[in-house]
């Protein structure tokens, strides 16, 4: 027998075993960090157009004794958007340059940016899009929307799902009957139909931030029902466990039992479920953009950036426009790895010493 360890220690020991999960976690920390500090990292704003510089391929940063620099660009073929380096002009890459103002974490005013070059040069490490907007900057700002949509979405759907499922499972009777009928109806309409139909009623004229919120609400509206049913099932089975019966016998109130004894026991399940359901929201945003009802330009989201890549010409000639596709893929992959790792590490058999099963 080993020394008794806290569940957290057990979890960490298990979690560490899975390199893919660690990698996933690291990628996510990096992505979310970049999104938070997008203002600082992005060399340009997401809407600045440079109409003479559409579909500029990613620029190469060159090294010289004086530090890194980029060459200027000149348009060789305006119809095919072909560019050549203008070696007559060198623009050194400067760090911590002053630029457009922003607020750190929405609070502290600042105007320093990680890097940039002096006008009239430009630095576009991931190239530019059709309007000559900097793709890297748009990816960074777009990450804010695409990455947060999942978190906000699960926050909403889990709150509703846990509450409804918990109450329904705990009380049973007509509450249970009623809520389960509602979830049944929701679950019986195929998800995509529901998304498409709900998207059609999005009030059209609204600023992107409110549209964003409504999109999250729509996706959560679909997500809560499954969760409510699962939580209900868990609660139903937990309700019969001895310790719950004991707590009840000791005169603990309904909510107390629910909050102190039942919900915590579903926690490991909920954490894993949350992790693996984030990708659903990210992909949901892509699907809405595919339908043309997602976040609208010029506000960037990975979904609408990827939609812009849906043309043969872009696929063949301007592959860097596909960058959001790879990032979505990586993010979803990272969440799945993390989810696997968590579910292995949080396996109740391991943490609770084989109870249940």
């Amino acid at each position: 027998m080993s020394v008794a360890r806290s569940p957290w220690q057990i979890f960490w020991k298990e979690f560490r075993k899975s390199p893919m999960a660690l990698l996933g976690a690291a990628v996510l920390v990096f992505f979310y960090g970049s999104a938070i500090f997008a203002d600082f990292l992005a060399p340009y704003s997401m809407i600045e157009q440079n109409r003479d510089l559409g579909y500029l391929p990613p620029q190469r940063v060159r090294l010289a004794s004086g530090g890194p620099f980029v060459y200027g660009t000149k348009l060789v073929d305006p119809v095919r958007n072909r560019y050549a380096e203008d070696q007559a002009h060198r623009y050194p890459v400067r760090f911590f340059v002053s630029g457009r103002p922003y607020r750190i974490l929405g609070l502290v005013p600042a105007s320093v940016h990680l890097f940039g070059v002096d006008a009239p040069g430009g630095i576009h490490l991931v190239g530019t899009d059709q309007f000559g907007r900097d793709v890297l900057s748009r990816l960074l700002y777009g990450a804010r929307i695409s990455l947060s949509i999942g978190l906000v979405g699960i926050a909403i759907s889990f709150s509703i799902g846990i509450l409804v499922g918990g109450l329904s499972g705990y009380f049973g009777g007509w509450i249970d009957e009623g809520t389960m009928r509602v979830t049944e109806i929701l679950l019986s309409i195929p998800v995509l139909y529901l998304i498409v139909a709900l998207a059609a009623i999005l009030p059209p004229e609204m600023p992107s931030d409110r549209k964003y919120f409504l999109i999250v609400v729509i996706l959560s509206f679909i997500g809560w029902a499954t969760l409510a049913r699962i939580v209900r099932g868990l609660v139903l089975s937990l309700r019969e466990f001895e310790y719950v019966t004991a707590a009840k016998a000791l005169g603990a109130g309904t909510f107390r039992v629910l909050l102190r004894h039942i919900i915590p026991n579903t926690l490991s399940f909920l954490i894993v479920a949350a992790t693996v359901s984030v990708p659903g929201y990210i992909l949901g945003e892509v699907f809405l953009s595919f339908l043309g009802v997602g976040i609208q330009e010029p506000t960037a989201s990975w979904g609408n950036m990827l939609t812009a890549a849906q043309s043969v010409r872009v696929l063949m000639s301007f592959p860097w426009i596909l960058a959001p596709g790879y990032l979505i893929f990586l993010t979803v992959l990272a969440f799945n790895f993390l989810g696997d790792g968590l579910s292995d590490a949080l396996n109740p058999r391991k943490i609770q010493g084989g109870k249940g099963g």
Binding site: R181, E184, I185, L187, S188, I189, P190, V191, L192, Y193, V196, A197, L198, A200, I201, P204, P279, L283, V286, F287, F290, L291, L306, T307, Q310, V312, L315, M316, L322, G325, I328, F329, L330, V332, L333, N336, F337, D340
Partner: protein, 322 residues
């Protein structure tokens, strides 16, 4: 069991009613109506639009339309007429449904034929090179946005010429022998079925792996091993069978989900199915066509659920229904 079935069937009636009310309501909440596109066409005089509005009862409040629609459905099994095709919705949907069914079956075939063997292999050789590759494939399948995947495959088809670009029949279809016809459709089916089948394949594979791992930990497997049965027999005869049960029950559900999940594939790859039709109908607000399609998809899903429950009851004696 019989009472259970009966109850479930009766249960479907209020359920489908609820679905119809919710979907109708959602459709009606959307701003504008079918005639807006026609109104915008300056070649079509407004008088005509007005007379069409009257014909389709679009000048009446929504509950009047719903009541009429429901009445016709219940009394005459008449799901209404499509505004743009001017034909009963089911006559429009029927050939499309057949095509979507073919696609869904092909995708289901890919799903199950790959998911189960790969899942078993991954579980039996846990942490092996096999397991890692399989789980990588699964993660890949679950992570790639469908639109993106479909586009990439279409591009592959265009570049290599190995597969046709969209559609379901080649132009010479009618001149082919029956075998040739089947092969022609199969050839067109490959790419869309891959796109549609990838996600369920990945998730079923993971489920299979997890289930089998769970079963392999159970005591009776150990007992069987202890009895000296060869490992092959332990796995195939005892473990796999039990691990498979929960998956098999999902078959109906998977199929129903595939049937209604084919929007993206059908639209991007030009598969002439129900999804593409429905999406167009939704965009045009062709009310009854959408309703027909939603009701069809929902009914299939509900039936799939029912079949899953029944199968679960059959294979798992621990579950009782009263």
């Amino acid at each position: 069991m019989r009472t259970f079935l009966l109850r479930r069937f009766l249960n479907m009636i209020p359920l489908l009613f609820g679905i119809s009310l919710l979907s109708f309501g959602v459709m009606e909440l959307a701003p504008g109506d079918f005639l807006d596109t026609i109104r915008a066409n300056d070649a079509i005089p407004p008088e005509l639009v007005e007379s069409m509005a009257k014909r389709f009862a679009l000048d009446k409040p929504w509950y009047v339309r719903y009541e009429r629609w429901l009445g016709n459905v219940v009394l005459h099994a008449d799901f209404g007429e499509s505004f743009s095709y001017r034909q009963p919705v089911f006559s429009i949907m029927a050939p499309r449904l057949g095509n979507t069914l073919i696609l869904a079956l092909a995708a289901a075939l890919i799903t199950w034929c790959l998911a189960i063997p790969l899942g078993i292999l991954a579980a039996v050789r846990q942490y092996s090179w096999w397991d890692k590759t399989a789980s990588l494939i699964a993660s890949f399948g679950l992570s790639i946005p469908e639109v993106f995947f479909a586009l990439l495959l279409l591009l592959l088809a265009a570049k290599t010429g190995w597969f046709p670009i969209g559609g379901m029949h080649s132009l010479d279809y009618d001149d082919l022998t029956p075998l040739g016809k089947a092969l022609d459709i199969a050839h067109h089916l490959v790419l869309p079925a891959i796109v549609l089948g990838t996600i369920p394949m990945a998730s079923r594979m993971r489920q299979m792996r997890a289930n089998l791992l769970d079963v392999l930990r159970l005591e009776y497997v150990n007992t069987a091993r202890a009895k000296g049965l060869p490992e092959r027999q332990v796995i195939w005869k005892h473990a796999v069978r039990n691990a498979l049960n929960p998956l098999i029950t999902l078959f109906g559900l998977t199929l129903a989900a595939l049937l209604s999940g084919s929007f993206v594939v059908e639209v991007v790859m030009g598969w002439p199915g129900l999804g593409a039709l429905t999406l167009e109908a939704l965009r045009k607000q062709d009310l009854y066509l959408v309703m027909g399609s939603v009701m069809l998809a929902s009914t299939l899903l509900v039936l799939g659920n029912l079949v899953a429950d029944v199968l679960l009851a059959v294979v798992d004696p621990r579950i009782r229904y009263d």
